[in-house]
Homo-oligomer: 271 residues x 2
Amino acid sequence: MKRTAFFISDGTGLTAEALGHSLLAQFATIKFERITVPYIDNIEKARDMVKRINVAAEADGARPLVFDTIVDSAIREVISEAECFMADIFGTFLSPLEKELQSSSSYSVGQSHAINNEGVYERRIHAVNFALDNDDGARTRHYDEAELILVGASRSGKTPTCLYLALQYGIKAANYPITEEDLMDQQLPEVLRPYKQKMFGLTIDPDRLATIRNERRPNSRYASIKQCMHEIEEIELMYRRERIPYLNTTAYSVEEISTRIMVTTGLKRNR
Amino acid sequence: MKRTAFFISDGTGLTAEALGHSLLAQFATIKFERITVPYIDNIEKARDMVKRINVAAEADGARPLVFDTIVDSAIREVISEAECFMADIFGTFLSPLEKELQSSSSYSVGQSHAINNEGVYERRIHAVNFALDNDDGARTRHYDEAELILVGASRSGKTPTCLYLALQYGIKAANYPITEEDLMDQQLPEVLRPYKQKMFGLTIDPDRLATIRNERRPNSRYASIKQCMHEIEEIELMYRRERIPYLNTTAYSVEEISTRIMVTTGLKRNR
């Protein structure tokens, strides 16, 4: 049986969605149809939402799950009239929080992903630009400005990780692809040597690397399992010799790789 | 008075953090020290966490707020012994959900940001690579493969938006910077004409654009307010003439811009 899950918000819906996904991940045997509905910020939209939920209830033969982060209790009340199971996040936690903080909620809408504090937001965008300017093979290498320099074989996940660190945490991360030439020297590339403290290494299982490289350049020497095995072996040797902290990314998502780097290096989110 | 808020998880902590930030945003008058602690996945780490919370309670003279998404109830119980106010997300919602779904939770840890379904995760990484390959001034323009083509003046926010759409939603978004040359022609750039249905325009207040451009190239003609006013005026005219949906990004974060584009275009997250 299919169940429909709605993630409803007066803002972007990212928080309701994140929480809903976390909870639904605990019920792997059930098939969920997941629908995110942002910007439900007035009574009229809430009434349309009720209709939509009821249609799904009818179609599924079971009431939909609703995960909402709506600040306005009048809007929440309208939604609660729908035929649904409601995990009402603000409704559940706001009033105990008000009591704990001895302060009234401002009941302001869609604050968590808004530009509340321009300085913070701009740091994130600067960090994205920094990551792009200091990506693989870029000629500009502002390693003095970098908070982190990710190194690793080509296609081991450096670029998406740098971008995620920038967008999510405002971290200025550069990346440097370790090439065969670098490995032949048996020492750290000269350009990196002054910045050893900022370095973090990525590694990956050679099989997986070969698969990824084959998508880019099928049947090339670059994508061969032999080449991948050789590079990864040498690169891991380098990490250990130079005492560079490193992580095998094979089983991890960008979110997990980024979080683990933050924990290992002690870097702090730029607020 | 300062209050400390901990976002604690057995996984990346992204969900606990998102929810905690949403709730704390409602209390703008209180100063919070925010600490995210990922990977609290055994009893020993939980005991250390209790000490850390109690130290903060002592230092602040008020009990910390704890927002947790820990699946294992034994770990949650340890944490609940700390001197804190606990917004216990899984503790609150899991058991009613089990009842509603007539199914037991799998109590599996850190699932929401893990690579559960490789196909989905790979689409996100492909989308990031696509955005990078089809960014501003790229020679490769695989507009036939794109799900969305963002257009706009240089520095109006196209690149970070494309990257966010890729990372968050797995959307393949290309971007095309509208230049003065394009504007002189008084028609859509030829390379875009076959893909009008995929186009979405960004605009921005000329003042803001001038500020952003001045950071990149101080005191240039490119960054002058006169030039920015001219470009934006012409670009908005083009959007209206060609009936391209568009959004003024001045007051919005990348998350908000991306969500609004998803809503307006009806694009769906790639799962």
